[in-house]
Each structure stands twice: as structure tokens, then as C-alpha cells.
Amino acid sequence: MMLRRPLFWLILLLAAVFAWLPKHGNNVALREDLILVAVAIILTSNLNLMIGYTGYVNFGHIVFYGLGGYVGLYLMTVRSWHLIPAALTAGVAVSVLALLFGLGILRLRGAYFALATIGVLEAVQAFVSNFESWGRSTGMYVSFESYVPMGGPKHALWLTYFLIIGVMALSLMLSLGIRRSKFGLGLFAIREDEDAAIVLGVNATLYKAIIYSVSAFLPAVAGALMFFKNGMIDPSIAFEYMLSLEGIVMLMLGGQGTVAGSALGAGLYERLRSYLLTSPRLSAFHLVIAGALLLLVIRLAPGGLIGWLYRLVPRSREVIE
């Protein structure tokens, strides 16, 4: 039962704190900090469904976020849709596309799959950069009219913030739900030994395609929301390869395969990155530090922070999933 799992309540608490802190006292700077943490958690926890649960490394996960942003902004600016239906439609459209990609590239295993995900990212970026309706390499801008139905920009930004917090909570709930389900068990079996899983009766082709598609949905919704908030999108910011890699660092740092690990790693790394990027002396080095961090984690704590906790306190496994 979901309600008996401590993490279920912790996720709700986290979302409530995120929603309340900046709103109380109207702290816009804090809101902007927390929105980045929330997006990092959304991307990392969905990436965890592929890497941590299924054992397939996706280097191009950011493609879902960027494409979601494009579909969302296109519907809002060109088709004048409201934010919420636009974001949901972006999620559905990108998931369907992911299902098609997935059925193609998920025949590959290991390093070949990982390379193919880079190919998907490159191909989508190249396509979008030349796609007339989406503004080619200049991208799209959110016009002022888009804010009007939401009561002006100020309200629109707060609404977007709360929606992103909601998507963050949903992402973590999704991971939590899958974790103890039969579907999740099939994914774990694939991660441990795909051929053995198939002999035991797991329809690996179907399971992999479904989880690849599912892991695209909420990041795409978040992309639509975030790029609306930012007011613009173009191919270089939508498909930032570094963000994809940093997602993997966050996941390894927190502990792949665990719900709490993906959130913890995303939160810690995002705060560290913001600090480094705003520090005049260290900003040029943030990727060096990310790389060093990844090496340290892999060497010293292959299970990440949560894996380390499990070793210190074995019983924590039951509580911190």
C-alpha cells in the first residue's frame, strides 16, 4: 500500500515545502532557485526509470524535455492554447514519439544503445534546427498575449511554478509506484540479466519500450512549462547535451535505482552547480568538478549516497526506497 510507505508522505511534504517557502513572503529569487531544483529532480527521477530500474543508459534524455518545450510553446504561441492543455499534449506527443524511437533503438544493448541515444539527440536537434514551423535555429518566443488568460505575467509565473512542483511530486510518485509493482519487478529482472528475464517470461521488448516512453512523459510536460516560464526556446538551449550528462552525474551521486537517491542527488548537485556558476572564480570549472565528482562516486560509493546509507544502516532499505 502506497499510504504505508514513508517516502509517499515525504514526497508530499517536500512538494508542500517547495510550494509554501517562496510563496510565503513572495520570495521570487528563492522561487527561481527552487524551480531549478525541481526540474533537476524531474529529469533525474525519470532518467532513473531507464538507468536505475531497467539498466539502459540514456545519454539523450534531455531530448524529451526539449521536444516537450517545443511542442508546448508551439501550441501556446502559434495555436493560442492554454498552458495546461498545451503542456499535457506535449507530454503525450513526446511519449508517443519515444515509443516509436524506443521500438527501434531498444533492440540494441549496452554501449550500442547508449550511443544510439546520442544519435537520437543529435538527429532531433538537427531536425528542429531546420524546421520552419518551429522557427529553425532562432526558435520561438512567448508573446505577451499568452499571459493574459492567466491574469498577467506575475500570476502566470506563480502558476507555472506550482505546476512544476506538481510534476516533480508526480515524477517521484511514479518512481515509487513502479518500484514495488509487477511492472517494476520485470524491469529489475531485465536490468539484472535480460536474457534470463525473457526465459522467465518477461516480455522485455514491450517492457523496455513502455518504460522508455513513460520516462519521456513528465520531462516533456516539464519542458513545456519551463520554456514557457523562460519566455523562449531555441535548439541550443532545448537540447543541451551537458544537461543530459549532468542528469547522469546527479543520479549516480544520489544512488541509481532508488527514488530517494534520484531526488537527493538532483537537489545536491543542482545547488552545487548554481553555487559554482555564480562564483566568479569557479564558474569556468563546474564541469571539471562534475567529472571529478562522478569519478569519486563511482570509486568510493558505487551505490551513491543512498547506497552508502544502505551499507551503514541496512534496515534503512525498508524505509528509504
Binding site: 520485470g186 529489475f188 539484472e192 534470463a196 526465459v199 522467465l200 517470461g201 518477461v202
Partner: protein, 250 residues
Amino acid sequence: MTDLLQVRGISKRFGGLQAVADVSFNLGEGEILGLIGPNGAGKTTLFNLVNGVFKSDAGTITFLGKDITGRSPDQVVHLGLARTHQIVRPLSGMSVLENVIVGACFGRENQSMREARATALEVLERVGLADRANSSARALTLAGKKRLEVARALAARPMLLLLDEVLAGLNPTEIGQMIALILSIRDGGVSVFMIEHVMQAIMNLSDRIVVLNLGRKIAEAPPAEVVKNADVVEAYLGFPDIVDKLRGAQ
């Protein structure tokens, strides 16, 4: 005896090597059918063809009256045909219990997590791994991993179980326990098709034995006749001690 499994003219070629060549046989309901042959004879490959890991180059496989030729292993296990691996393949990062729950969840009865848990506990009890349920599958001894292979396959609630050298690497006590288990499986209504190099065991357990050599079926008969078969003795000529064991088992 009605036939559970009918294999007709299946073959498998790996590059220049004909691993299985035009093999046909039947397996009856409630039967224990042995499969023997020298190393590299194509026994494991034959299993891989029957449960769909490899696609046969020719021929047909019929299980419970359904043509299963070309079906994938996950579809085959849903119909009630489960197997173990000669080289054990535990899901190492998971517990022993979880491994068996996977077998139950995705087996013939497509059980829910709750049902699968009950099934898994019952099966673990049966194979003698109940006390290891919560340890990591990685931590089991070889004998433990072989039992886990059997437990996972049994949890699928199969009608037919393929056992690939489940006795290899076990000590005499463990062999005795495994043989008792195999007999109890058959008495529970599950037919068994088993590959084994431990001659004493296969001669005593099997109702009939199929002998493969260089991919071809060279004999199919009750144990007493197989050991007298000139072709079989010749196939094992390179392995004189096995010929002795064949005779000794008589």
C-alpha cells in the same frame, strides 16, 4: 500416453557448425525424458530451440497441441514450458525470494505480486532454499544457485520442465536431494525433459532416453536398451570412462 511435446525435424546451424541436425522426438505426459550425448553434442542447443531462445532453421515444435515454432521464450513459458540454465543465471542484485517471485509473476499463471509471493515461498520450501529466501542470490553456493534455477522454473507452474545439468557440480548428498526433488516434481504432474552427464542418475530417473551425437539423434529408447546400443557406445568411445559408467549404471 498423450504427447505433450512433439519435435519434428528441427535443426540449427552456427556458421559452419551443424549444432542440431534434423532431430525429432515426442515427450509424453507425465514422462521423464533423458537427453544425453558427449560434450558439444548439441543438447543445450536443442533446449534453446525448444523454448525459443534460438529459432530453428527447419521443422516444427508442437506443445500441448499448439504450434510453438518460432515463438519467443517469454511466450513459451506462458504456455507452460519452463527451463533452467546449465550455466546458472541468477538475477544477482535481487534476493533469492525476488528471483522466484519473478518466475511466478511472469509464468503460466501470470500471478499478481501477492500470489507470486505465496507461490515463491512455497516453492523455496520445496527445493530447500526457504532459509535463504532473503539473502542475495549472488551469495548462494553453486548448489544453491542450481536449486534457485529449479525454483524459478517451478514457480512458473509449468506443465513441462527442461532441466539442463542440474546435478553437475553437486556433491553426492546434494545429488540425492535433487533426484528426490525431480521425482516429486514428476509425481506432482509435471513432465520433465532433462540433460544429464551423471549417468547413474539419468539411467535411474528416465523413462526413456534420447541420445545426441554431433547434433544428430542416434538413439531413443528406455535406459536398458540405450546402454546396449552400439551407436551410443561408439559415440562415447572417445570417453571410455563414460562407457564404463553407462554399463556400470546397469
